[in-house]
Amino acid sequence: MKNLKNKYFINGRNFSCELKEPYLEDLIEIFLNKSSLKESKIAVAVNNQMIERYKWKKKKINFQDKIEIVAPFFGG
């Protein structure tokens, strides 16, 4: 297995990181700098499609994919 340091596109910006295998959960963990995502009130879309949390582990990411990581925010 080779290490890949590549650019991903998260929340409208390029994001570089090294991943053994480009799975969504690993990518989110690195992006958030957290080892456990259990408590994080976030949701994720890949290419404008919501990916349920239980699918993150097995969801492979391609380098062209557009990833959105969102959370509740102040709103009216």
């Binding site: 009130k41 949701a43 994720v44 879309a45 919501m50 990581i69 509740p72 102040f74 709103g75 009216g76």
Partner: protein, 257 residues
Amino acid sequence: MKSDYLVIDGKKFNSRLIMGTSLYPNLDVMNKSLEISETQIITVAIRRLNLSSKGFFLDQLNKDYYFLPNTAGCFTQKEAILTAELARETLQTNWIKLELISDKEMLLPDPIELFDTCKSLVKKNFRVFVYCSDDPILCKRLEDLGCEIVMPLVSPIGSGLGVRNEHNLEIIRKICSGKIFVDAGIGKPSDASRIMEMGFDGVLLNSSVARSLDPINMANAMKLAVISGRLGYKSGIIERRNMASESTSFKGKISNF
């Protein structure tokens, strides 16, 4: 008066005031305003995670609330549905405040896109709280579609103009048998009170409190206005007449000079 709960989706609420969480001068003022308002439901937006911010927005709330996530800023059905799905995933709620606007200047709802989007969201088992224009027929059609709460504006978002078309609101209240809130345009506590006196089920507001000089006191004023208006409505407001009707009887008057 007997208990007068607001029941939404099988849940009972004491408060009929739904508060937004945006535009407050700071977190402390927001928390105190929410607390004094005694609101139980607050609206939140769904936005890209900002790693440079101090923490998660939800962690900064001092109390537990029911969350009503919104689709603020969405212009298309696709955007709104994805936002609703992300909201459901992150907050574990089927509730969604559907905002689907047509322009950035007036922030007016796009009724055609809105109607189709409501259809899709209802099919996907969302409880839709739909922000819409004050068109009685549109409100009725949205209600018939299965929206949980229909929420006509009284004037543009954040305008503070208050009720601009009372006649339309009266018709909406008359022809819609379900729950109707008013969302957007409230400026003064008397606006909120007036709406509740008309028999609306609740008031959703944000700017009128958050942008006031003293949001905490204004939140308190809005709470009292909503309670007062509701109590007035439930107590049976007298009919309006064009002519006077004496409150003191003429009977027994000493004489007619």
